[in-house]
């Protein structure tokens, strides 16, 4: 069976199953979501109005046995940045969609204005769109459990909590993982877009559609073997990530002076050891839990983990560096268990770890609450936000808006999106990615930390400007291509250092589709995606003046290196010369 485009129209609650247009055939993941958004969404539309669309797409290799290929991309116009957005996550959805032959699920239009929220259920060539009043006002774990009870554990689930229902800009979308827990998708307020379309939950049931067609199964298997070997033999993807998870970064970024602390005031944190991956791994060992855990079935890296409290009871899974940094170093909570508890709450209500943590940092700077007050955060997340109180809505509006409301100058955002856990003044290549990526301040778009700090793909001095624009450009092109395959971004570590890795990946794509792509074709795919996204943003009104760092970083030096952002506008804009 050929793959199809599934289209749902919320304005009249109808659907169609369409042939895939020729020009979309070779695309998947981010390449496909950004192409569809650019083709079908008016860049000037209001992101929460009738003319925005959500596009879900599994990667090119999703649904196959390819290691780490289970990422689902979601594209839309972002209500936070006002530009195009692609966000991807693990969970079981990519494999299920691919097996069912769903090349993309496009959701468009708005239903009539009333209190009704809907449940979309996708099966073979069919979609039902039904009101689901019993789940309105419920959070993600309850929604997830209800769906699993109804359909069994094999169904894919996307859902929003109360922040998404209320169209808050910090809201994201939850995706079921293999253990029946939650991964998250959709920085940039994509939960609010789902809420605007009045969709509480989407389920996808592949039924007995099991196999994804392979043009050349033998070649595919051999390439997957070589690819898996590259992932397992690399010291980062094979050893470090499984043992410590992504939180291993706390200490090294701190030692390098690039760990943003107390709302981007300092480059190191006193709490680093408490927050470190080493400490988290120690706790997991003492208390039970798991240091290795995959966000989808085919993951051979398993950076995720299961974290228990002091009494050995489950608290959270997928306890990641960005989250621990955001609430630990940036907002100043000095107790890892409090942060784990907050992580679980945030999964349940469905808000983005980075945006929410950066928002609390700015709110503390503005005097709304003290730095490091875990109890205050918990109260806001469990009472104020779900009930939509003014306080809840203020925090729910994101870092940029809170900065404006409280008259704060030190607001670490680009294109109104909160910065992740790397200081752009002290890790300048990463700063170039923040200002130039069409996504707003985002780290995965071009992870220059790899070469600036981690010595992956060589070393470029993080405190100097030389080579950073080129580094970021090359990484962004490669990441756009990798984001189209359905691969988790951590395959970038072996890809940077092991010459066998990328050819094996390309061989798998060719063997899956009977294609003859070369390395250059893949690079061109990455370039085209970036240009397409950039063109969308220009039409949406995001110009050069939006490719800039917040001004305070140009005049306020960052301890311990007294680092400053010193790129000229011309140097930044040269990013797009390709």
């Amino acid at each position: 069976m050929a793959d199809k485009i599934y289209r749902v129209r919320m304005n009249d609650l109808s659907f169609s199953v369409e042939d895939v247009p020729k020009e979309w055939l070779g695309l998947g993941g981010r390449g496909l979501t950004s192409t569809i958004v650019a083709a079908e969404v008016d860049p000037e539309c209001h992101p929460l109005g009738p003319n925005n669309k959500m596009v879900f797409a599994p990667g090119l290799l999703s649904g196959t046995a390819a290691a780490n290929s289970g990422r689902t991309s979601l594209g839309a116009k972002s209500p936070l940045t006002g530009g195009i957005k692609e966000s991807n996550s693990g969970g079981t959805s990519a494999g299920i969609m691919a097996k069912l032959g769903v090349k993309a699920l496009i959701i468009e239009g708005l239903p009539e204005e009333d209190d009704t929220f809907y449940h979309i259920h996708v099966t073979k060539e069919h979609v039902t769109i039904e009101p689901i009043p019993e789940l309105v006002g419920k959070e993600n774990f309850e929604v997830l459990d209800t769906m699993l009870e109804r359909y069994g554990r094999k169904v894919a689930v996307f859902s929003i909590g109360t922040p998404g229902e209320q169209r808050m800009l910090i809201s994201n979308i939850s995706v079921k993982d293999p253990q029946g827990k939650i991964r998250s998708l959709g920085r940039g307020g994509l939960g609010a877009v789902m809420g605007s379309k009045k969709i509480k939950v989407i389920t996808v049931d592949a039924g007995d559609s099991k196999e994804t067609y392979l043009a050349d199964a033998a070649t595919f298997r051999a390439a997957n073997k070589a690819f898996t070997k590259a992932l397992k033999e690399n010291p980062i993807s094979g050893e470090g990530l499984p043992a410590f998870g992504t939180d291993i970064l706390v200490n090294i970024i701190n030692e390098a002076g690039g760990l943003p602390s107390m709302n981007f005031r300092y480059g190191t944190s006193e709490n680093a050891e408490e927050l470190s991956g080493e400490h988290v791994a120690e706790n997991i060992q003492e208390r039970g839990g798991k240091t290795t855990h995959g966000c989808h079935a085919g993951c051979v890296i398993q950076c995720s983990q299961v974290y228990n409290d002091k009494d050995g009871n489950y608290v959270t899974s997928g306890f990641e560096y960005e989250m621990i940094w955001a609430f630990g170093a940036n907002y100043g909570i000095d107790d890892i268990d409090t942060i784990a508890h907050i992580d679980h709450i945030m999964d349940d209500i469905g808000v983005d770890a980075i945006e929410t943590g950066v928002t609390f940092g700015v709110a503390a700077e503005g005097g709304m609450l003290p730095f490091g007050d875990g109890e205050a955060v918990i109260k806001i997340l469990t009472e104020e936000i779900p009930n939509g109180t003014p306080t809840g809505r203020v925090i729910g509006s994101g870092a940029g808006n809170v900065g404006k409301l409280y008259g704060v100058v030190r607001v670490p955002v680009v294109k109104n999106q909160g910065m992740p856990a790397y200081e752009p003044r002290a890790i300048k290549g990463q700063g170039i990615t923040y200002v130039t990526t069409p996504m707003g301040a985002d780290h995965t778009a071009g992870y220059a930390v790899a070469t600036n700090i981690l010595n992956s793909g060589g070393h470029i001095d993080p405190l100097k400007k030389e080579g950073q624009v080129e580094l970021s450009r090359n990484l962004q092109i490669a990441s756009a291509a990798i984001d189209s395959t359905g691969m988790c971004i951590f395959v970038a570590f072996p890809a940077l250092d092991d010459p066998a890795c990328l050819p094996a990946l390309i061989d798998m794509i060719n063997a899956r589709f009977g294609a003859e792509l070369t390395g250059d074709d893949v690079t061109n795919l990455g370039k085209n995606i970036l240009k397409l996204e950039h063109a969308f943003n220009l039409k949406a009104g995001l110009g050069k003046a939006d490719d800039r760092i917040p001004e305070f970083m140009k005049y306020e030096t960052l301890p311990p290196h007294d680092a400053i952002w010193d790129f000229t506008n011309e140097e930044i804009d040269a990013f797009w010369d390709f």
Partner: protein, 79 residues
Amino acid sequence: MAEITVTVKLFAQYREGKFKVEQRQYPEGTTVGEVIAETGIAVDRYPIGVMIINGRHVEEDRILEAGDTLALFPKVGGG
């Protein structure tokens, strides 16, 4: 020969059976590579990834000075 005191910090797998942070004495002129050998960290199993002195990346031939803080990491990554 005169001795200098430096702070040595170990991370990730290098801590196994060793220490997190210690003040240690070395003869003047000691290099980072010599400290790595002296601590006996498991570089055979986990090759050196990153060496940082006082917040700056260095190479193994870098000579330590009194009061330096040296941080040693195997290859680590995340995102």
